[in-house]
Symmetry: C2
Subunit: 376 residues, 2 copies
């Protein structure tokens, strides 16, 4: 794969992603100043991920704001594919989703795609179910409002989702799935059908309430093809097209290619990692924008734009723009060394994980059943 | 289509079916004397549909009898695709299934494939649901033991069926579905997935009981491809391959080509038909094996082998072999005219429908919910 080549689909991200090209290829819109201003006017402030371009694109988001301003409230839909322990790359979207829930007082439907992961991964049904339980506890600990949040599990809630999914499926041919996801005749028929299950939650509240309710989906941009495929089907079934906010990929520990992956230990910091794990991984693996020697670094300065520790701080761990700007300028000038930058990242990440792990310990199977899982 | 050409798949039957060729093409076994004797030894008598070759072939049925004789009891699985009102062509298999239930004291899982009919037919979801309610009432009225019979609706019981179906789906490629059902890239992804939903009920009791239980599926031979596709998957998932009993097609009113169809009023006698409807349809449409003139008929005799009224009597409405033989010989000799044969058929069919309609009137939505629908 040449440097300028990259590939983004829901199951694979390869190469260095050119987001400008992606916006054009996917036919999505940049989140420009005008849209950001409209959000700020409603919410009173912009989330750091909006200010810093982590969420960078959208579909129909201006329409959604129009509806919101007319009093037509939306609900949120996002999801998690349980195929391994969760890492920092997963939760950015969800923390942003929590912010949206708080600011817009929105219900959230959170889909766990255990069917997808079983069908696409070389893992047993039982393994996937184990990760499902594990991932649900982590998600529940992120701070969503349990009274307004409903976990949907594709297998367990299939009596709700499958009857909706077949309505999408009836209007999607294998040709479309082939073109959109690069599937072949040798792919299994569950994979081929699956995209219909991912389309369904965007209308679940409308189905339940028997009226059309706008939907906003915050997602990693790799998930966009599912909704590109289903996009034209929503109105055919009498529903609004869901609005979408797209995030860039969380950088992998080892550098700018691809994304964090739960199947590669050295590519990710997991939510269950100990302070020692985090220290070791950041020190050993975190791709550095520093120079080869201290002398050179002092003279020429570091490059925060490719430095993974800096990117972590920017993406999630430093809210204050002034503080982030100070670190950026110190590092760029060479006054701050990579070891010092890494020390900040380790401290911030560990503070976050300590709090998270404490909250997570309280999420038992019983708490999930009682407070989080959707019940008809 | 030339006379010797025919086509049989779960959604289409064309031409005059050559069952001898079908047995070879499908790789199924004839129900021969030896097997019939074994059944008779256990059940004490042979059902007319076995004596007369309506059920003519099988898969693994001898294995099933071996297991039964060892004390390893089987359950029954059959189904109904709700896309219109039920007709006589549908219920032959089910009446035979009831006999098996009684004789072998077997539980029955009865699948209603509302997803299939929605995905394959140009009908709305609501239409299919209407026929589902209608068909369930008819099936419940056929005399199954409600304590041992469980209706599974693909959409409504998807939380039970979908998690099983994806285990089959993971091991079935589009290439296989393409080759087995003649699907193309332009078929919708729900149709492509569907066969996995039909494979699932054959292991539902095993899944629920957490042990392997043999399964017997009585079906019209057009449904065999579903189980040919799933056949090798059952043992891979740790289950027995289901045994199958195959029936020929119920003759269509208008003659030996194809089968009765609920979408063609003149091809079928419906369970809701009035005595006048039946009389009119038999007189007007029922293909006759008689001669062009009474003189000729008296001289040369009629042909009961192609006469639809006679076939109806043989398939379902006359149990007594001596009585059937007498009618056959009278007709063949020319002593019995077509009008007389038709009068017998009209009388027998109407007697059956009168009883059925009386029982059916008692099957309300509440009765279905309480006595028939599977509940976890």
């Amino acid at each position: 794969m040449k440097m300028e080549e990259f590939e983004v689909n829901p199951w694979d991200v390869k190469g260095v992603v050119d987001y400008e090209k992606l916006v054009k290829d996917f036919g999505i819109s940049r989140l420009d100043e005008k849209v950001l201003k409209r959000i700020e006017k409603i919410t009173g402030e912009l989330h750091p991920m909006l200010r810093r371009g982590v969420f960078f694109a959208h579909r129909d988001f201006e329409w959604l704001l129009n509806e919101y301003e007319k009093g037509n409230k939306f609900f949120l839909y996002t999801g998690c594919g349980p195929s391994g322990p969760l890492h920092l790359g997963h939760i950015g979207t969800w923390l942003f989703t929590k912010w949206l829930q708080d600011k817009f007082d929105a219900a959230l439907y959170f889909q766990f795609t255990d069917d997808e992961k079983f069908l696409f991964k070389n893992k047993s049904y039982e393994e996937i179910q184990k990760y499902l339980e594990d991932n649900m506890a982590d998600v529940a600990a992120l701070g969503f409002d349990p009274r307004k949040t409903h976990f949907l599990i594709d297998t367990r809630h299939a009596s709700l989702l499958y009857p909706i999914a077949i309505k999408f499926a009836k209007k999607i041919t294998f040709s479309i799935v082939k073109a959109s996801f690069g599937m072949t005749n040798e792919d299994n028929i569950g994979k081929i059908f699956y995209t219909a299950m991912q389309a369904a939650p965007a209308v679940v509240p409308s189905v339940l309430a028997k009226k059309n309710i706008p939907c906003l989906i915050p997602l990693g941009v790799d998930q966009d093809p599912h909704f590109r495929v289903a996009r034209d089907v929503y109105p055919k079934l009498g529903y609004y097209k869901p609005a979408i906010l797209h995030s860039v990929f969380w950088p992998a520990l080892k550098g700018p290619e691809g994304k964090m992956s739960s199947s590669d230990e050295s590519s990710a910091i997991f939510l269950h990692d100990t302070p020692k794990d985090v220290e070791r991984k950041i020190k050993k693996y975190a791709f550095s924008g520093g120079r080869d020697t201290i002398d050179e670094h002092r003279k020429l300065g570091g490059n925060p734009d490719v430095d993974v520790s800096f990117q972590f701080l920017k993406f999630m761990f430093i809210e204050d723009d002034a503080e982030l700007a100070r670190i950026e300028s110190e590092y760029r000038s060479g006054r701050m060394l990579t070891s010092e930058l890494k020390a900040i990242a380790i401290k911030k990440i560990n503070a976050f994980l300590k709090k998270h792990q404490k909250k997570r310990a309280k999420i038992t199977q019983k708490v999930l059943e009682r407070n989080w899982l959707w019940a008809s």
